[in-house]
Subunit: 186 residues, 2 copies
């Protein structure tokens, strides 16, 4: 077995590397693989992205991108869902979306995977908030709870049927119960 | 195999139940077992308790109790280390420490175990802070980082050699590097 370790001295250098599977993030000068998503993760990521886009895309308010690389400051991270206000999305002349997002998302949503380091994920959410992100969600399917981060505030743990804090101006009422109910498929 | 499910309608009722292995917490009306500690967890819990008590016990400033049940509000939780200021520890007439702690710790320290729900643990730390606890640490051996909670503030992620925030008036300089260096035994 050959173990290949890739190093990058800067964000610029990291961004020149080819994308890999599993996808890697660049945090504090280190290249760190994200865990490969499993069933619950995959299900919640798609359902929640669709739910948000159902409300915001046609009105050009915002868009939820699953698995989008966001590079800013000294990090390159890949939130499970990165929601951008429409005005912050860059388009090419022909109206197509740009490939490279060199900016923080307005709403960062992470779904904890088993064995993923929660501190590392929370570190990324806090980093986004520092740069101007307005809202962070950490969804923990294991605990059926969502930890909600807002700028300069103590995070709050949400469970049950109360409506969760949403990005301002988005007309969306969602509770933890609503979200975890999506796990039931059959 | 027989599965026994124990229910308790109130904290009072929960506290009448016999202690079990693994130890259980009572959170939002549910009885939830804590994971059985493994090697890294056990090592950090003892080393950190000793390190704190080395500084604070003889001067009667505070005391770090590993695995102490703290029951207050509607919860009964068992932080991995519960640090109490000396003035808040109850003693019997003969000077022995009381068995029952019906109060929040001044400093709650949790060490994440593999497969433990981080949101649940963070929920307990936030609950302590709501009641008057001054400091919460969430130690993640997997990420070599410590998430530090203080009242009414955004938590902050600590790594490396910077001195961590400590309970006021405790003369203790400890970094994340210092703490994770204890994992190396041989």
């Amino acid at each position: 077995m050959t173990l290949t370790i890739t190093v990058a001295d800067s964000l610029e250098e990291f961004l020149k590397l080819p994308e890999s599977k599993p996808v890697c993030e660049y945090i504090n000068g280190q290249i760190i693989p994200k865990p490969m998503p499993k069933g619950k993760h995959s299900r919640l990521q798609l359902k929640l992205s669709n739910k948000i886009n159902e409300i915001v895309e046609s009105k050009k308010i915002a868009y939820a991108f699953p698995e989008l690389r966001c590079s800013f400051g000294t990090r390159s991270i890949v939130p499970d869902i990165a929601v951008f206000r429409w005005s912050r999305i860059l388009f090419e002349e022909n109206g197509e979306v740009y490939d490279d997002f060199l900016c923080y998302p307005d709403w960062s949503i992470e779904i904890l995977s088993p064995e993923q380091s929660s501190n590392r994920v929370i570190g990324n959410i806090l980093y986004c908030l520092e740069y101007g992100c307005e809202l962070g969600w950490l969804i923990d399917p294991n605990d059926r709870s969502i930890l909600v981060f807002q700028p300069h505030e103590q995070p709050r743990l949400w469970q049950g049927s109360d409506s969760l804090p949403i990005l301002n101006e988005l007309d969306l009422a969602l509770s933890a119960d609503d979200i975890f109910a999506w796990l039931k498929m059959g």
